[in-house]
Symmetry: C2
Subunit: 360 residues, 2 copies
């Protein structure tokens, strides 16, 4: 297969982890005789530095002609402390989501058997957790009208949803549930928010189309607690943009490190793959960034193009690295000095030679 | 001291747990020679049944002349499954908050030494956690304009904050931090939301007035994760309405049961005290509802009227009940059949005779 991949490493640890994901994709291409080409673009704070904006036109053009986008991370503490900055790294990420209508964000949450003890939650609580979060990504309070009063003393955000926006991601979530444990939980705040009332109403109306899926409804406050008490109760979680942001980051608690959480966001035509973690500028260039979220995002890319064997091999490589404790310091307590690159190298070696890889 | 307390037991387990809180307050009044009078009103689903509305005028009048409000819980699954219902139990609670301008919701999160093992989080993670959440309670997306399009296919919520609304609760949070570990964390989503940008800007501007308080800023997604990984890092958390709802319920994970979380909400003139948990209609009338959140809310009431010894005695009673495992099934693994009433009786006995109380 020929794939043209737009690579947007972004800020902070983004470039380091993305380099490992690219390395892994190259190994897969070699091993399976695919032709993957990689074109690089800037985004986020580093794009602002170079071009004055977080999402330059060239980057958009690059993504337009690509089959898929591999995204690193964006963000910078300078902007975090300057809330009123007009130009911000996040505009790079949000701009991509909007430009390419990437409405369905899929975030798997898996408690890996070999590192169950890395979680702050007790083993028995998280064992066998396997959740797929469907987060709506192009609407809600993120993209509604925002205003500041002239005196700067009143600020307003708008959260809007339409039936169309809810239905299109809900269909994907229902279909995903059908292929899994056939449970779907809608997370909303329908006891307070109009937009949540619409979500709940639409899902109630859609449910009969998927009679094999058991649908339940949970308020976001309760869902946050339940995710940390009894995550195994969930199969597919469907939710709006902001609640999905919160729940999926919270899910990092279950897997033991946010450095393991991958994601994919889809429109009907384009797909972007991205670790959930941020740019952690403080950690950059020290070789301590966990590349697994980026590598698993690359595996989701392979899955998306129905390269299932290829994706499985990557996931096996990740599993093996976890089993053998070939992991960065966020997870590793056994070996010292296992760097970002070393983890990438290990998984690359595994792909080249699945039966013989060990720590070298 | 003379106190006239409006008691609004509400729905589900509300009446059961509130009865224990009243029992405890009566014991305190006896022991310390106070005159507490209790006037009962209806609210929530039970008020809808009786009067057609969730917050009848008589209930408002009752609260108006009271010195404080003791609130149980509201909610009912029938309404949860009917998102478009025009009349809803939540209107009782939200109506009280709005009517009495109860803008500052204070929610303590304490990891009780004697029940550390009840948490789904590991002991070492939660030990010594002592957080005070300040949640803004009368604005934000809860109270902004809400619309449905005529065809019912588009729904909109508005999240609005003014400098005034932020400053008044922030001052309370800063002052609270000064009396504690002098750390304040603002939780927002200032990388995306206009309202959060205003929050961050205002707190940045206020911080120099409280030079002894170390201020930090955290995005809500990260804060949710950090609360479940390293809760000890927090002292006072200040946040807006919706984020406060999510974080404070999530905090139930730390203390081992949401049945332990108390809260108080204040305007400049009125105060309301309320367990954080909901009405859990399924659990009602079985004697299994944990009354401690309601009882600790009553202790917050005593603290509010500067009855510090009285409040301490209640809290000691609660500590002792936890130590001796005189607790409802959500916490209890040692004794069977310890009912809601039994827990209340134990704490009442303790107040009457602090030195001699044991399980009887
Ligand atoms: C960086 C930020 C704008 C983004 C979001 O809030 O969506 C991030 O937290 C995420 O989850 O991808
Ligand atoms: C019942 C509901 C409206 C309420 C809220 O969301 O504020 C509750 O969850 C709370 O936290 O007091």
């Amino acid at each position: 297969m020929k794939l043209n991949i737009a690579v947007l490493p972004g800020d902070g640890i983004g470039p380091e982890v993305t380099a490992q994901a690219v390395k892994v994709l190259k190994a897969i291409a070699m091993e399976f005789n695919h032709v993957f080409t990689f074109d690089y673009g800037v985004v986020g704070a580093s794009a602002i530095e170079k071009t004055g904006v977080a999402l330059p036109q060239e980057t958009i053009a690059l993504c337009e002609k690509a089959d898929a986008i591999l995204f690193g991370a964006i963000g910078n503490a300078v902007y975090d402390m300057d809330p009123m900055a007009k130009i911000r790294p996040e505009q790079g990420l949000l701009g991509l989501r909007k430009t390419f209508d990437l409405y369905a964000d899929v975030r798997p949450v898996i408690a890996y058997e070999d590192i169950l003890d890395k979680s702050s939650l007790k083993k028995k609580q998280i064992k066998d957790t396997d959740i797929l979060i469907y987060r709506e990504l192009t609407s809600g309070i993120y993209f509604g009208e925002k205003t500041f009063s002239d005196d700067g003393n009143t600020a307003t955000d708008t959260c809007q949803y339409t039936r169309f926006q809810i239905e299109r991601i809900a269909h994907l979530a229902f279909i995903a549930a059908q292929k899994r444990k056939r449970k779907l939980t809608l997370v909303d705040k329908a006891n307070v928010l109009a937009s949540s009332k619409l979500w709940r109403k639409v899902i109630q109306e859609m449910a009969p189309q998927y009679p094999d899926v058991a649908v339940s409804y949970m308020y976001i406050d309760k869902a946050a607690m339940e995710l940390a008490i009894n995550p195994r109760q969930f199969d597919v979680i469907l939710t709006e943009n902001m609640f999905g942001d919160i729940l999926s980051e919270l899910a990092g608690v279950i897997v033991g490190s946010i450095g393991l959480l991958a994601s994919a966001s889809f429109s009907d035509k384009k797909a972007m793959f991205q670790p959930i973690h941020g740019a952690y500028n403080k950690a950059s260039n020290q070789g301590i960034a966990n590349p697994i979220a980026a590598i698993l995002s690359a595996a989701m890319l392979l899955d998306h193009f129905e390269l299932y064997d290829e994706a499985s091999l990557v996931k096996e490589g990740v599993d093996k690295s976890l089993k053998l404790h070939i992991t960065t310091p966020d997870l590793n307590t056994k070996y010292e000095h296992i760097t970002t690159i070393k983890v990438g190298d290990f998984i690359e070696d595994f792909i080249n030679n699945p039966d013989e890889t060990n720590l070298n």
